[in-house]
């Protein structure tokens, strides 16, 4: 049997120290992703540091507005939180569109952000994957890649990040609070994930052993009018084929502010800054939304099986924004 150790640290400092002392250790939160990958032999930690008893389970309003969400808050509690539902509906909807009730009851904020790709080649130790085993090649590049990236992929990796939560957080300009051996640090979600480049095995900009302690949502009154649209191959319990998180602030029909992020298109949640720039300051029309999506998707390089994602993402961009604007399509 492959045995591993299990520790339940008393505080954040001990947790970080435990990981610092053992290069093969991993944090364990809800376990809904890590334990599966251990069974498949994809991840083989020799020490699990259980973070679920750390005092990171609260959701607190911040003095200047905004919200701090503890790293071990369960996805189901976060989705149901009244302030989240009122002030950041995009976040609540993204969570509820993910996985199943049972999984959401276990899954945590930190674990969700750190979950690994669902690329089928990554999950099968019998197949080539640079992310799982650097240097073995990318079987997906010319393989079954319908569900994979259209933006920002590299020859080494065409995987997508699977989290719905992360897409909403990208749109909301959330900040991840991180504890490391040297102290604590704030990392904006925009800088949290990496492009695959030459090193797809590195998914985030965090150093090894860094612990997510919380996620901070800045105040964003416009987010009360926000939406998450997720397209999937069956009506529930499926990862996104494409998704969009959108916040729209109109002033007499003119776009005062807009936030757009896409899921299931790249190695990271994709903040659509070009589309936002196209929209900002212009009178909103569905046609404008389409042009904005086109501007963003100009950079798309579909793989052999996923060219359809380009018109799909365009379509849901138009729909999400049009519905938020309350105009007829």
């Amino acid at each position: 049997m492959r045995s591993f150790h299990y520790r339940r640290p008393a505080d954040v400092a001990e947790a970080v120290a435990l990981l610092g002392a053992d290069p093969e250790a991993a944090y364990l939160a809800g376990g809904t992703n890590l334990v599966d990958l251990m069974k498949l032999g994809v991840q083989r930690p020799d020490l699990l540091v259980d973070v679920t008893r750390l005092p990171l389970g609260g959701i607190e309003p911040l003095p200047g507005g905004g919200l701090r969400i503890g790293a071990t808050v369960r996805n189901s509690s976060l989705a149901a939180h009244p302030v989240v539902r009122r002030d950041y509906p995009v976040l609540s909807r993204a969570l509820l569109a993910a996985a199943s009730g049972q999984l959401r009851n276990m899954a945590t904020t930190g674990g969700n952000l750190m979950q690994r790709t669902r690329c089928v080649y990554f999950q099968d130790t019998g197949k080539a994957c640079n992310k799982r085993e650097p240097g073995t090649g990318c079987a997906a590049r010319h393989g079954q890649n319908r569900d994979l990236a259209i933006l920002d992929w590299s020859e080494q990796c065409v995987a997508t990040h699977p989290s719905d939560l992360a897409v909403a957080l990208a749109a909301l300009d959330a900040v991840v609070e991180v504890a490391e051996a040297g102290g604590t640090r704030d990392v904006p979600v925009a800088e949290f994930y990496r492009s695959p480049g030459e090193h797809p095995e590195r998914e985030t900009t965090l150093p090894r052993g860094a612990l997510i302690t919380a996620v901070r949502l800045p105040p964003l009154p416009a987010a009360r009018r926000s939406a998450y649209l997720k397209v999937r191959d069956r009506a529930s319990f499926a990862f996104a084929v494409g998704s969009v998180a959108a916040v729209l602030d109109l002033d007499a029909g003119v776009v005062r502010d807009v936030r757009l992020a896409y899921g299931a298109v790249a190695h990271r949640p994709w903040r659509a800054l070009r589309a936002e720039a196209e929209l900002r300051g212009r009178p909103f029309t569905p046609e404008l939304a389409g042009r904005a999506a086109d501007a963003e998707l100009e950079a798309a390089r579909p793989l052999s099986h996923n060219a359809f994602k380009v018109p799909l993402v365009r379509a849901i961009t138009v729909r999400a924004l049009t519905e938020l604007a309350g105009v007829e399509a």
Binding site: R2, V120, K127, Q144, R234
Partner: protein, 698 residues
């Protein structure tokens, strides 16, 4: 039959045990000294094992043994090449089991499996079925023993002369059976006797196969299958788990538990073959079919021939004087396909019933009416009369319940916001057959009765149905009857498959009970302490049945919504009406019919084994990536049946209903999608990328 248990809704007899977790499945029996087996799949597609290094595995704590072709106990080569496991170094497909690790714990066994080093000498492989595959050939027969090709009249001339012609090719992908309980076995050898707790659909056949494989008399093998967590055909015969567990238990001389993993169900247990089907229909302007042809292509393996009877459905379903059906097979470097709910009928009906819809559109005739116009008076294949044929009743009753009459046949006519809405219909049929079985019935001195038969309840409610049938045949309240099934020590019976379970088993049960009543009528005085037992065999009676066309029928109606922008499809209503003879237990009958329709919905919209030719296997081999319909995919699903008394079937008058539900469902949904959008998708599943932006496509 006056007690009246048959026809009444009754919860499953073992329902309480199941929901409280006390019902035991194959690897859940408490056992001292038990060990765990883990199957090791081949990492090559086609080739030979040149070396197996078990040392790294054996060095792990808890690992007891590694079995492979070099050291496993010998099996008889004459039983079934599929079961000739760990005997030869040859690899026929990726994922074929080539070793078993046995250990003190399941965790140690799994880790051991990762440490078995196997070298292969590999050869180029071919794993993708195409319409022009160079290996296509004509098998001698199709499953189980139908002629490969049939022809009547002159199809070519009649088709060429037909006023209206439909010529369309439909494709279905590989579908994978995923019962909740995987194929799983606990094997124990005791004094040369083999005791197996095994998850299968018929343990009489498993007992026979295992006895032959190990060269033992049947009596030396006992197979217990008290509760089985589904099978859908894939457990219709002995499979790898039971053979590997028995080999391992003999090798380590301790009991072994072995369950396949979810990933291992994608291949080695069989799957529904991909199909490529061309259907041609020629009719007059009124839709009366003159020419009908169905050419089906499917695949088999290098190990053994499995010839899915895809076009057989078309031989008897609709009228038409000029007809032809053909089957071609390609042998590929793939696992052998096997039975999956309505093998043959299900993929075949998808093609034929879709083509019927295309014909209805081409003729401008309502698709319900078109089917009624082409309802044959006698079986067009054999010329036999039908024992009963109530397709028309199903269609008209379904149309009434569904509200079909108001349908505007024009596609893209209904729109609600983002949703394009359409409706579709399909006919269905499934053979109503029976296999020989034996049963005993015992009258006890305390007034109770015991009925014994080696039937298998794979979750269908078979145990409960037989108990109801027995009570009526004995003419006593069901509370006085106990039923024993699921053990090869019981009187032998056939598999729970081919929708033949209840018809075959109830036949033997009724005969045993009737005979017992007879005997009791003549009996005087006290009954002996162990009761009075009679045994009935149905083989002769079944053989003596007069030749007739016996089928269950059904009609499925679907209403779908297609998202005009994203192409997402949701089924807002699915309604089926069936003619299935006597319904023994409405509760469990309804779940079978709804379950079949759900599986058909899943086939239409979601399921697809996605093969990577370079690796030669399916990459989406788990339930997160191989999508099966979820509850949210269908808003309303209903099943009804029409009253049907058919005296030419079997004593209980049942037709069997495990499979009829799935048969036409995918075609009904595909036709509804076409009605909603104007787009006919002829290769399943109808995934959103095939309909994306459909509002502009149409």
């Amino acid at each position: 039959m006056s007690a009246g248990a048959v026809g009444r809704a009754h919860p499953r007899l073992e329902g309480r045990e199941k929901v409280t977790g006390t019902a035991r499945y194959a690897v859940e029996y408490p056992l001292d000294d038990v060990t765990y087996g883990w199957a090791v799949p081949a990492a090559a597609v086609r080739g030979r094992i040149t070396r197996i290094d078990a040392e790294p595995a054996l060095a792990l704590p808890g690992v007891l043994a590694v079995l492979h072709h070099g050291n496993a106990p010998r099996l008889s080569p004459d039983v079934d090449p599929e079961l000739y496991l760990l005997q030869e170094p040859t690899v026929h497909y990726r994922g074929q089991f080539v070793a078993v690790v046995v250990a003190e714990s399941i965790e140690a066994a799994r880790e051991g499996a990762r440490h078995v080093r196997i070298d292969y000498d590999t050869q180029p492989h071919s794993t993708v079925l195409t319409a022009d595959h160079p290996g296509l050939y004509r098998p001698d027969k199709v499953n189980p023993s139908y002629p490969t090709d049939t022809a009547e009249g002159d199809f070519d001339a009649a088709f060429a002369a037909a006023e209206v012609q439909v010529d369309a090719t439909y494709r279905t992908p590989a579908y994978h059976n995923n019962p909740m309980e995987p194929h799983a076995t606990t094997a124990q050898w005791r004094d040369g006797q083999l005791l197996l707790h095994d998850s299968n659909q018929g343990s009489t056949a498993v007992q026979a196969a295992m006895a032959e494989l190990f060269g033992m008399p049947r009596e030396s093998v006992r197979v217990i299958s008290a509760h089985v967590g589904g099978g859908f055909g894939s457990k219709g015969y002995a499979k790898a788990s039971v053979v590997l567990a028995a080999l391992a238990a003999r090798h380590v001389d301790r009991p072994v538990r072995l369950a396949l993993t979810r990933q291992q169900l994608f291949g080695p247990i069989g799957y529904r073959t991909p199909t490529i089907q061309r259907v041609r229909l020629g009719s007059d302007a009124d839709g009366r079919i003159a020419a009908i042809c169905h050419d089906a292509i499917s695949q088999t393996s290098m190990i053994t021939e499995f010839a899915e009877q895809t076009a057989v459905y078309t031989r008897s379903m609709y009228a038409g004087p000029h007809r032809r059906t053909t089957h071609r097979l390609a042998r590929l470097d793939v696992p052998t396909p096997f039975w999956m709910r309505a093998p043959g009928e299900c993929p075949g009906a998808y093609a034929l019933e879709s083509a019927m819809d295309e014909l209805a559109v081409a003729c401008g005739i309502d698709p319900v009416e078109l089917r009624i116009r082409n309802d044959p008076a006698v079986d067009p294949d054999q010329g036999h009369p039908f024992s009963s044929r109530n397709l028309v009743a199903c269609l008209t009753e379904g149309a009434r319940r569904f509200g079909w009459a108001d349908r505007n046949p024009r596609p893209c006519a209904r729109r609600e916001g983002r949703w394009m809405i359409g409706t579709g219909v399909a006919g269905s049929s499934y053979p109503a057959r029976a296999r020989a079985a034996a049963a005993t019935a015992t009258a006890l001195p305390d007034g109770g009765f015991v009925v014994r038969i080696n039937a298998t309840d794979i979750g269908t409610g078979a145990r409960t149905a037989l108990w109801q049938v027995a009570a009526d045949a004995l003419d006593v309240p069901p509370e006085r009857v106990r039923i024993h099934i699921g053990d090869s020590d019981l009187p032998p019976a056939g598999v729970a498959g081919g929708s033949m379970g209840t018809s075959s088993w109830s036949w033997a049960v009724v005969r045993a009970c009737q005979e017992l009543r007879d005997r009791l009528g003549h009996h005087t005085g006290e009954l002996p302490a162990d009761g009075l037992t009679v045994e009935a065999h149905t083989a002769d009676e079944i053989r003596a049945q007069r030749p007739m066309a016996r089928y269950a029928y059904g009609a499925q109606f679907a209403e779908v919504r297609v998202d005009a922008d994203t192409g997402e499809v949701r089924v807002s209503r699915l309604l089926g009406v069936f003619a299935v003879g006597q319904v023994v237990n409405p509760t469990t009958a309804r779940s079978q019919l709804i379950g079949g329709m759900t599986m058909g919905l899943s086939m239409a919209l979601h399921e697809e084994g996605v093969l990577d030719e370079r690796y030669g296997d399916w990459v989406n081999h788990d339930l997160a990536t191989y999508h099966i319909t979820a509850c949210a995919d269908v808003e309303r699903i209903e099943a009804y049946w029409v009253p049907e008394e058919d005296p030419d079937l079997n004593p209980a008058g049942v037709k069997g209903l495990g499979e009829i539900g799935i048969v036409g469902t995918a075609a009904a949904i595909a036709s509804a999608v076409r009605h909603a959008t104007g787009v006919r998708v002829r290769d399943l599943p109808i995934r959103l990328d095939k309909l994306l932006g459909v509002s502009e496509l149409a």
